[in-house]
């Protein structure tokens, strides 16, 4: 057997890009986003949702111990800006809201 070289294992610092950013979301009676508290730290802003343009679901790695199930919302907020939010369906229904470019 080849002896260990003693060199530390390196992952070459692989850092994922476009990680989800947690946001706070208020829901309306139908369970759709109504208000979103979003923005960079220190400049958080409340956006009122004008309409939801599209909803889609993503289910990945359902065969693994940590499956991924998300519901994405493409929304238009006041001022015409668009955001993409998703709810992590594996988490508690009240929390687990994130913003992410898709």
């Amino acid at each position: 057997m080849e002896p260990s070289s003693g060199a530390p294992l390196r992952t070459h610092g692989l850092r994922p890009l476009n990680l989800p950013r947690p946001v706070e979301v208020d829901l309306d009676r139908q369970g759709l986003p109504e208000r979103v508290l979003s923005g960079p730290p220190g400049t958080l802003r409340v956006f009122a949702v004008e309409r939801v343009q599209e909803v889609w679901r993503v289910a990945e790695a359902w065969w693994r111990l940590t499956p991924v199930r998300r519901t994405y919302y493409h929304i238009v907020v006041d001022g015409g800006r668009t955001l993409i939010l998703f709810h992590d369906d594996e988490e508690h229904p009240a929390g687990g809201w994130y913003e992410q470019r898709y």
Binding site: H12, G13, L14, R15, P16, L17, N18, L19, P20, V58, E60, V68, R70, Q100, R101, Y102
Partner: protein
């Protein structure tokens, strides 16, 4: 044949006086390179007995109020170059006999300067105005030289064809192309004018002074056989120089001055549409110390930003000798090249090599590579955070 001679007698001294005009009316001597003897004197100093070759101690004894200037070879060289460029702007065939004396062959220029006086005016107009330039025009080289030496500053003497011998007859023998000891011997013979020398039989002149004597005898008769030995002058550089009223002390002020010089240099008509291959920077401190840097460019450019980057870097890291009294910029190797043919892949490789070198440098400095690269991980993934990642760039 028709020759022009542009000359500035005692160029090194005149250049210093041009920089300090207040001294022009005073008794001034220029020291030689060793700083021990007198190299040149003004007329005022000569009147008080100061002569070339005596020691500075003797000179001050003759004239206690004598102002002694140190030579500045770089400045003299620059002035001599200006004179060469002036002649070259009129005629393509020129010869610099010595710093401060330039001959030009005027054959074939009649079409360009048909009116009487136009040619002289063009030559004098092209010459540096701050120097007392004298112009002589004649059918022989030696006659043109004597005509120039005897002309008044900023004016011309034209010796017409057939009048050369008569013009020279009354001139001093000191102008003859003979060694100093030969001239001294002529003085001992009692021969003081060119006319007296020309009256000697040629064999006598030849017997006394050999081949030099023969040429001198012919020259004194207005029959100088010596031709021009022109060199190719390529007007491939532009100069700009500034002498601020107060010496520049702060680096910011020096950078501002340099920036202005670069702008002016690029505006010169000769630099229009041409690329620069080399930048030469000079700074002369208040106490006459010279700082000089020459920076060849990796490839010719006329991009002002890139040129400024080179100039700025040179001055930012320069250890200047003191407050700067004069700044000089020369954009050299001007080329008409306006395009280049890069290889399809070479440029990309070169950029990569440069980047790798820069990253190695940063890693050496900071202990780790602060540069990362974007890599595809699972670009097909439906989860956006799994598609791309940043990886440490480690060449």
């Amino acid at each position: 044949m028709l020759y022009a001679c542009l000359t500035v007698p005692a160029l090194a001294l005149e250049q210093r006086l041009a920089e300090q005009p207040a001294l022009r009316s005073r008794a001034v001597a220029l020291a030689d390179d060793s700083g021990l003897r007198v190299a040149e004197v003004t007329a005022e100093a000569a009147l008080r007995g100061v002569r070339r070759g005596i020691t500075l101690r003797e000179a001050v004894a003759f004239c206690p109020r004598l102002a002694v200037l140190e030579p500045r070879p770089a400045s003299t060289r620059w002035a001599a170059g200006q004179l060469v460029e002036a002649a070259a702007s009129v005629s393509p065939l020129i010869e610099e006999a010595e710093p401060g004396t330039v001959f030009a062959d005027l054959r074939g220029l009649e079409g360009l300067y048909p009116q009487p006086g136009q040619l002289q005016a063009a030559l004098l107009a092209a010459a540096p105005r701050e120097l007392p330039v004298r112009l002589g025009v004649a059918g022989q080289r030696f006659t043109a030289l004597v005509a120039a030496k005897t002309a008044a500053p900023q004016s011309a003497t034209w010796v017409l064809e057939g009048e050369s011998a008569a013009f020279l007859a009354g001139q001093a023998v000191e102008w003859l192309p003979l060694d100093a000891d030969h001239l001294e011997r002529l003085r001992l013979f009692g021969i003081t004018s060119l006319g007296e020398f020309a009256a000697l039989p040629m064999q006598a002149a030849q017997a006394q002074f050999g081949a030099q004597g023969r040429r001198a005898w012919l020259a004194a008769r207005g029959e100088d056989p010596e031709r021009l030995h022109p060199r190719r002058v390529t007007l491939d550089s532009v100069h700009e120089r500034v002498r601020p009223e107060a010496p520049l002390i702060s680096r910011e002020a020096i950078l501002q001055g340099a920036r202005q010089l670069l702008r002016h240099a690029l505006r010169q008509p000769r630099a229009a549409g041409r690329f620069v291959r080399q930048i030469r920077l000079r700074a002369i401190s208040e106490d006459e110390q010279l700082w000089e840097r020459t920076q060849p460019l990796r490839e010719p450019t006329n991009d002002r930003t890139r040129l400024w980057t080179v100039v700025r870097t040179q001055f930012e890291y320069a250890e200047l000798p003191g407050p700067i009294a004069e700044l000089d910029i020369e954009l050299g190797g001007l080329t008409t090249e306006t395009g280049r043919q890069p290889g399809l892949f070479v440029d990309h490789l070169r950029r990569r090599e440069q980047l790798d070198e820069m990253v190695r440098h940063l890693r050496m400095r900071f202990g780790h590579s602060p540069v990362a690269q974007v890599v595809e991980v699972e670009p097909w993934s439906r989860l956006p955070e799994r598609r791309y990642a940043l990886m440490d760039y480690d060449p």
